[in-house]
Structure formats: C-alpha cells, structure tokens
Subunit: 657 residues, 2 copies
C-alpha cells in the first residue's frame, strides 16, 4: 500500500466514523439539538441561565439581555437593533424564555434579520405532574424509572432546560397516590436538592400529599382538617418545607378518590380539606391544587360523580385553591366530551389536567400526538375560564426520556400549549419536528400529517363513535371489552361502559338514562340528548345505540362501527408506510426505533379492531361488511392473550398473537 | 301453561333439536352426502356393489344394471329407456362408476328425464400414493394418522366408496421411503385384509418397496438386481404376495434418491433395477412404478438431475415399467415449470405424480384448490403422452379425512381429473361444491371463485415470479428464505434456489447458467432463455433477475415482487371475507372450521409476505412501495419464529407472532 493510499483510507475511515456518529441519534437531546457554537456568542447584559444558554448555543450576532419594567411576568420581547438583538424581560424567567425563543428560531431555520417579537404566557402556572413513586417506579410510566429517584445533576439539568425551553415553570415530583413519606424530613432533603437544581431554570417544585399524613407520619389520631392539632401539624410541616425550599410551589391533593384518604373520612367536605391546607400555605404564597377526580362504586354513572360532589361547593374554596379537573368526566380516554364541571362551576378557580403519558393511548408504543385532543377540549372550554394547566408527565429515565421518540412531542406540545393555547396543533408539530428531526421539507409534510392524524386514528382503532374504557383490566394497553372478573366493582369493568346487548351498545346518559347530559349547558344538553343530533364521535358515550341505527353515512351503526375500526387499522398501516419512506431523511437509530414502534402500533390496531368487532358481534349478530378486513383470529383465541405487565411498565412488544 | 302451548313448545324443541343435528356436519361423509332412501330403490340386473349403492341412496325410478360387450374397460353408458334407467358396462367396475355417476346427478340437482351418457376413463391406472409409515404416521400427512395402520372396516368402506365414486382404482398403501418390513409376511397379511376390503370397490392395492429388502429382510449379502439369488428372493416374495392378493397391483419404487437404496449402489442402472422387478411381476400382471425423483448434493442444478440420469435410459425399460415423474423438476412447489423429462423421453412409459397433500402449500391449513395447477401442467404436457396419473394422498384418520374441509376437493378433483383430464377446474369445483355443501347458487359462485383463485393466491403470497423452495427447513410450512445451517448440503437450503444478492435474485438456468432451459423443446428453450420473453410467472426460476429489471407492468422487478406478495395477502383476506358471507348457507360446524383455517391462512400470508420482503430487502436495499402494506414485524423478530412440528404433523395455528 502506498503512503498516499494509506492516508486516503485513513481519511475515509475518519469520515465514515464521524458521519455514523453524527447521524445516529438516541433522542437524549430531545428537541434541544443545538450544536455547541465554535466560539462563544457575544452576549451582554444580565447574567444568568439565559446568558449561559446563548453563549453556548447561539450562532448569530451579538445579543443583549436586559431587564425592562412594564412587561408581563415571564413575558419578553426580542427586537433587532442594528446588528444586535435585544431580549428584554421583567424577570430572569422572561429572559430565559426569550433566549430559548431565539434559539428555537435558529433551529427551525428562521433567519429573519429584523426581529420584533413580543410574548407573554397565557397561564401563570404551567405545571407537570409526575406520578413517580418513592420506590422509583412511575405509575402509568412507560419510559423507565423515575428521574427523581436517583437524580443525576446532568440529567436534571437537561430536564430543566427542556422544560424551560417551552415555558414549563412547575413540577409536582411525586404520584398523586402519595405515600405519607413524601413529607418525611428525609424526603424533603431530597426535594430540596432537586429544587436547587431546577431553580436556575425558573421551575418551582410541588409535592403531592397524602391527606392522612398527620396520622401516618405525624402520629396524630386524626387528620380531620378542622382539628387544631392537625392544622398545627400541617403548619409545622409547611414551615419545614419553606425553610428548605423558599420558593416551594404548593400541594397537589388526590383525596377521597380510589381509596385515598380525604376530608370525607372525617365528615368534612373537599372544601374543608382544601381550605385548611390553603390557609397553611397562604403565608408562603403556596397553592393547593385539589383534584376533582372522584367516583364511587355505587354510582349509577361514574361520569356524573365529580359534578355531584363539587358543584355544591362552588364558591366555597379559598383563593389559593385551584380545582384540578381531568379534561373528560371519566379518565383520559381516547375521546371524551369535556368534563361538565368546567362550564358548570362559576365561582371556583379551575385548572385542566391533561395526561401526556399515554395510559390509554398505546403507552410508549403508539405514536399519538395529543395536541389535537387538547385543541378539541379548548373548542368547548374557553382557555380564559381556567387558571392553569397541568400535564401528567410521560418522562422516565429511558435514554430518549419518553420511551417513544414521538412521545417527546407531547411533552413539547404541552409546554407550548400552556404558554399559548391558541397555537394550532400543526404549528406546534411543525416547530417540534424541525427542531427534533430536521428542516427538510420532504420529511416535514409527511411526518406532520402522521402526527396530526394520529389521535383520530387511535380513536378509530381503539374506541370509535364514543366507546370508552374497554381496556384490559390492569395495564390499560390492549382491548378487553369482555373483562369482568366476578366480584370486581362494576365501574372497573368495560361492560359498565359499553353496555352491549342484543339491541345495541352504549351508555344511555340522556335524560331518560343517567341524565349526565343535564350537567352540560342547555344547548349542548339538547344536542347530546337527541340521538339524531348528538355528534357521532360521541354517540355511544351518550346513547345506547341500536345496531341498526342509521348513521349519517347511510350505514347502520354496526356497519359504521366496523368501518371505523378498519379505518383505524389502515391509518396505522399508513403511518408505518409513510415513515418507512422517511428513511433517507432520518438518522438510522431513530428511524429504526420509530419504525419498530409503528410496526407494533399497526399490529395493535388490528388487535383492537378484531377483538372488539368479534366481541361486539356476539351481541350484534350481524356480519362484518365485505369491504372491511375480516378478523384473522377467533375471539376465544384473542381472549387468551395476555400482556404480563403491571401499571408501571411499557409492553415490550404489544400484540404478538 | 295450557296444553296447547305445551305441545307447541315441545314441537319447537323437536324441530330445533333436529335441525341442529341435521345442519351441523363434521365432513366425515365427504362429498357422499346422499341420505339413505326411505324405501329401497328398485334396482335390477347385475348384483354387486353398484346395486347396493343404488338401492341405498338412489331416490329416482327403477334402474337396471347390465353387462354389455364392446364397451371400454371401466367405461359405462347411462340411458333412459321408458321410465327406467339402464346402466351398461363391460365389467363390474364400469357398473359401479355408472352408479356413482347417477348418484352424482341426483346430488348436483341434475334432474334430466332423458339420459344418454357414455363415459370411459382416460387413464387405465388411477392411483393414490399414501406416504404412510408402519408406525402409523404419514409423511407430509396433515390429517392425522394413517387410515391403514389400524383399519376399521367402516372407515375402509367409506374410503373405498369415496375413491370408487371418482374412479380411483389403485392405492399404494405405504410411504415411498419404504421400510423393508413392508414386505414382511406379517405385514402382507395386513395388506391382504385391506385388499379384501377394497376389492368390492374395484380398487387394487400396491406397495412401495425398499430396494435393499433382500438384504434387510431376506438375509442376503446383496440386493444387486442382476444377482440370481436376489432375483430368486424377489420371485418368492412376489409369489407370496399374489397367493394372498391375486389382483395385487405392483410396486412403487423410490431408489437412489434421498438416501434410499437402489441399483446404483451395486453399479447398476435404474433400468436394471426396474426391469428386474418388472420381470418378476410380469407373470402376475403386476407393474413397476419407478420414480424419477433423484438429485445429488453435488449437482450444480438440482432441476437438471432427473433428466441427466433418465434420458440415457430412454427405451431401456420393460413394458410393465412406468417412470413416475413429479410434475415439476424440483419438488411440488407452488409453481414450477413442468419437468422436462415429460417432453424429452420418447420411448419410455411415463406417469405424472401430483401431490394432493399440501406439503408446500400450507398443509391442511390453507385452502388451495389444486386442479388449476394440474390444468397448467397439462397445457404443456399432453395427457395422451402419459400412461397414468398418481396423486400423493392427503388422507388421514381425522374426522373430515383431509384436515381441511376444502382439502377434500383435491382428493375429489384428482379422481375426476385422472378419469378425464379435459374437465376444467371450474367444472370439477362446481360438482364438488354441489355435493359437499349445497346446490344453493348464492353459495356456489362465491365459493367456486375462492377455489379457482386460491392456487394463484398461494403462489403470490408464498413464491411469486418463479421463486421456489424458500421453505422452513423441516416442516415446509412457513418461509425461511434465510435457512442455511452450517454444513447442510446446499440444495437443502433456500439460498441455493433464490440466490439473492445485491444485483438481483433468481437461479440462472439459461444457457449461460445451469443450461436447464436446454432440457426443454427448442421453442420453449428460446422463450425461457431470454429474460424478456420468459413468462414472468417463472422469471426467477430461469433467471437471476436484476432488482431494477423492468417488468411488463412498468414496475421494477423489486416493486413487482412487493406487489405480488401484497396481492397474495389481499387475496387470502378476501377469501376469508367471502367465506364469512357464506355463514347463512353452510352448517355451523363446517362454517366455523373453515373460517378458522381461512383466518390462519390470512395470517400466514402476511407472514410469508413480510418475512420474504424484509429478507430480500436486505439484498435489494430498495424501499417497499408506498401502496404496498408495510411489514409489521422486524426481520430479526420474524426469524425467531418457530413452529415446533415434524414432517408428520399439521401446525395447529400457523403464524402466531
């Protein structure tokens, strides 16, 4: 080998090696894939995290950071002044958000030389809820173990940067099913460490508390919120917290719900409980987020329960209490109507709780972009009628943070939506894709379309036409519309919700049924109450629909149901094919990891369709239409299928039968 | 309950009970579903099986059975004479076939009052080959254990009736991979019992023999066919057989093939071996069927081997030797060109061996109607150029005889085709469906179409465009185009056949390759040798086809391959949907048993498509076209899949991953 040849080969090796390393990505950088600038950018003005981030990643001209009175809290302006860019804000958080805005422009290929941007957040409180347990698991966590369990400073920094980059400014560190030990002095020391790591990024920490803590860790005989000793115990505990964490945010409380203790155990109301805690937190500017997620085994309609418990208390809550209400009246289903509490309560501060972790949407295996679901919610509930938004996080210690590369989009989108609920799903998808994958238009339009269609596809293949909660008993991943173990409370079994029989299927919530429609404003009530005006997307939510009911398509309800399920399968298959065509535009690792997930999703979509149609067919006694793909398994075989996972795990493979 | 009401209910119960019993069928009656006539039909003339069958099942007017000279052996006439029907034949077999013809007219709804039918078989020898082993298993048997292993007289009678009803007049009871013990005196007593049971139905028995029998059970030192002691041993053995079974048919021999002993072990030729046996059988009117299924591990092209070994012997075989040649040059693949021996040998009696048992066509799980395959064969090989037809049986002790209700059609069709090779696949399907299911036109047209399309569908989803032998190593059921264990002889591995590489795939059998094309007549040789004139259905059989080769559709070869596989999947799915629509016209048991099989077939079709496309894609490096369904498993996952069966079993479930 000549010397020349040797050098050439060595050079090629370098190139190849480098190129593989550069192109293969593991997703750990999320949407913050800025390369470190070769020479630090010139950034002047206010020192702090904003300056550090710009110095590290900004590749444009000089930037000046300055304080400016009169701007909204956390708001900012970005203006070109000659060859300089000036970011102005009333506080450090505003400067930080402005810095990330500028970096976002850089990453999305926006190269305007004349900037004149003015932004402020729509909501003051932009909060993630982590359902993390002291043992390191995450309830309905599909991306590994808790990131707070054994916090690594570099990991915490990335988590903080990611949140700050989209404006998230609060995080509840632990599960709403809170262990009393969350408030132990030992645990509070850990919380302090995390708070210290997040503070530079303008993120406050909150804790979920167990209402029986005064008994369980305080040694008292009661947790009655009107008991002086109990109040005293809470005061002391809160003082202890604020000594460690002066900017502590407050408490999130799940009380008298699914077996958790609460004020009703002591003959008191939700208001009694919430107001007591609010009183204790008030001097520290802390808040109480009190969840409205309540239902009872004996209730004839679970969807009615929150309204029945909370409406009588409207107006009774302290001004630092916010009632945190899930978007729908049941539980994060692929599609629900909005929870009627949102339009019913007039004198109570409310916030919506969205779920980013896909408990009911294919966990970390299915690509389901959730922004369209939130947008649908906001078409009924005015953003201004709410005080805040909470998102149940989908974050764990997996390399790519969320288990599925596209699940990162839901974290991103939540932050963007809580900053500005009027951003469209498409705008957010576009921003996220450009930062997370590339600005290549050949990739953007296809993949954006996958994202935008994905939620409706999931509704189609899981639970079209208003069907809800026909999930497997434990893991909420696959279909088990038949699940009904002897002795289990009815509202924990799918037949309670789908009510299939020889006449039809669906839950009669009309005035002749559970009267749930009456919890909605009059116009909606009228619309929902009539099977002929009720939107077909919610048909079996509100009606027991006869199999032969004529749908707008001209088909019978049964035939429509079959077609919807089949549409979902074909959509899932289309996502896979469309993604496969993206191979030239995506690094190999993420391409194949996403491909693998989309393959699972397409298989699971078939599982859903076939299991549900075969099961419901045992009631409808009608044939599956010829132009719908016919099930390739027998129902009894499908009913044998088990995914042996708990509620803390992502299924490795999905449907494999 | 009033008395009247009671009677009514009891009546309804009776009706319902009766109707369920009558409608549910287990397939054990095959296509012979005639009800026993209420009063015995008036049948006069020659006594025997023909008379008994008509007395039991004929529901029309008087029938007379008579002998008539001048008619062909086994032929018959059926003529209306006044109010009587006269069946005339030269022998008992002819009368029996005439009787079954009349019953077939009854069952297929043909009610002509003026019959004038004249029939005779195209081939004299209409023979089933059973690959049954002494231990009760059937090689490539997918319908349970051997029916000869522990023969039940009722079972034997049904088997005989079924054969006779379609004109089959011979049966080889044991596997061509014959144990020497097949000729033991103990076994011959069993064979005699079976022969006695089949004789009333004009069926002669034959045996496969092991060429080394003189050594193995005779205690001789050699089996050299020219050795006097060996010849003496065979003479004695044959005499022993004919003492027990005076109408014994003869021997079927697999020699010097796949490890079986043969004359070449003693330096003799196939002709030496066959002629020695023929000489011994000749005095008894016995025949030798000598198989041409030979190939060698060192052969550069297995497809060439039979021609190379047998052509030099053309003209050397005795006149009671028939060379039995598989329809294609390799081994019962979904599609092969015809074996070139058929057009090459000019001075040798030949018979074709078709395989009814679906060794390479989805076993007893896939609905594949084989008559179109045979029709395709006969479009190249003139029926008159052959002496006989053999069909490798798909029969076992399963309740429905063949494992799959529709596999019965292949048994039926074989009998009909060997009787009259010019019957179309459609005619035979029509006859069989009418007798086996019903004369309901709503059922007939749909299901007939499934049958007629089924073989091409199987080719599409398994091995389109000339691909062959890419089956799993042991069971030949699923795809394992990658199967290539270290040290295994190459011609037992799929890569030997598909030869996929970065350029393309396929076996170059042109004059520049293995020159296999030269074994065909000149016109065909020219046609096959040119990639642009070679039929696309055989393209990779004869050519190493570049991935970018332009096909007649305008697509590249790779894209066409993807489309063909996908077409097959959609065809299999369509069969399922079309069958599902037949529920009103088919009894519940057979409906759901067939449905279950069609579900397996649709899943298996996906397995084939996805495994093959993903595997071949590792060579083609081309994307799967957007309008083709994309694989939902990763190749490495699919490569893990195993069906733990031997070559004696039908897979319970097919592809389950």
């Amino acid at each position: 080998m000549t010397m020349k040849r040797f050098f050439f080969s060595a050079f090629m090796l370098l190139i190849t090696g480098w190129s593989v390393a550069a192109t293969d990505e593991d997703g750990s950088r999320l949407w913050l894939r800025m390369e470190t600038a070769n020479t630090a950018a010139i950034v002047t003005g206010i020192k702090g995290t904003a300056m550090t981030e710009l110095q590290t990643y900004w590749q444009g001209g000089p930037v000046m950071l300055k304080r400016q009175k009169g701007l909204a809290k956390d708001g900012y302006t970005i203006k070109s002044q000659g060859d300089k860019i000036v970011i102005a804000a009333a506080n450090d958080a505003g400067l930080l958000y402005g810095a990330y805005h500028l970096l976002r422009l850089q990453q999305t290929g926006n190269s305007s030389s004349s900037l004149d941007i003015s932004e402020k957040p729509f909501y003051d409180l932009r909060i993630l809820n982590h359902w993390d347990n002291p043992n390191g698991t995450c309830e309905r966590g599909f991306a590994g173990k808790s990131i707070f369990f054994n916090p690594n400073p570099e990991h915490m920094k990335m988590y903080a940067r990611a949140n700050a980059s989209v404006g998230i400014n609060g995080t509840v560190l632990n599960n709403v099913n809170a262990k009393p030990e969350a408030l132990s002095s030992e645990n509070l020391e850990k919380v302090k460490t995390i708070a210290d790591q997040l503070r530079p990024y303008a993120i406050r920490v909150y804790l979920s508390i167990n209402f029986a803590s005064p008994i369980k860790i305080g040694g008292l005989k009661t947790a009655d919120p009107l008991d002086a000793k109990v109040i005293g115990w809470w005061k002391d505990k809160v003082n202890e917290i604020y000594r460690l964490i002066p900017d502590f945010g407050g408490f999130l409380v799940k009380a008298n719900s699914e077996g958790e203790p609460g004020p009703q155990d002591f003959g008191r109301t939700h208001a009694d409980g919430a107001n007591m805690l609010a009183g204790v937190l008030k001097p520290h500017n802390g808040i109480v987020m009190w969840r409205a997620f309540v239902y009872a085994p004996q209730s004839p309609d679970r969807a009615n329960q929150a309204y029945l418990e909370f409406m009588p208390l409207d107006g009774q809550f302290a001004d630092n209490v916010i009632i945190q209400i899930k978007n729908g009246p049941v539980d994060f289903q692929p599609r629900e109507p909005y929870s009627p509490l949102f339009t019913a309560m007039q004198k109570t501060q409310m916030m919506v709780e969205f779920q980013l972790t896909q408990e009911y949407l294919g966990a970390a295996n299915h690509l389901v972009y959730l922004a369209p679901l939130w947008q649908e919610f906001f078409s009924f509930v005015k953003p201004a009628s709410l005080r805040a938004m909470a998102g149940v996080a989908n974050i764990g210690d997996d390399t790519n943070w969320c288990g599925h590369h596209f699940a990162q989009a839901n974290w991103y989108a939540f932050g963007r939506a809580v900053w500005n609920p009027s951003l469209t799903s498409e705008q957010i998808a576009n921003e996220w894709l450009r930062q997370t994958f590339s600005n290549d238009e050949r990739m953007l339009s296809s993949v954006k379309q996958i994202m935008l269609d994905s939620r409706e596809a999931a509704v189609n293949y899981m639970m079209p036409l208003g069907i809800h909660h026909i999930f497997a008993g434990v893991h909420h991943y696959g279909p088990e519309p038949w699940y009904s173990p002897k002795g289990l409370r009815a509202d924990w079994t799918p037949p309670y919700y789908h009510r299939a029989d020889s006449i039809g299927m669906g839950f009669d919530r009309t005035v002749n049924g559970s009267a749930n429609v009456m919890q909605y404003p009059y116009e909606l009530c009228r619309l929902y109450n009539d099977i002929n005006t009720c939107p077909e997307t919610l048909l079996t939510w509100f009606h027991h629909v006869p199999w032969d009911h004529k749908m707008k398509s001209g088909r019978t309800f049964w035939d429509e149901l079959c077609h919807k399920y089949d549409d979902g399968v074909h959509q899932a298959r289309h996502f896979l094919a469309a993604w496969d065509a993206m191979q030239p535009y995506v690094d190999k690792q993420r391409f194949s990891e996403v491909q693998r997930k989309l393959r699972i999703q397409a298989r699971d979509a078939e599982w859903w369709r076939d299991a549900c149609l075969l099961y419901f067919q045992t009631f409808s006694h009608r044939p599956i239409p010829q132009d719908v793909e016919h099930p390739v398994h027998n129902l009894d075989e499908m009913m044998q299928f088990r995914i042996p996972i708990t509620m803390y795990e992502n299924p490795e493979n999905g449907y494999n039968k």
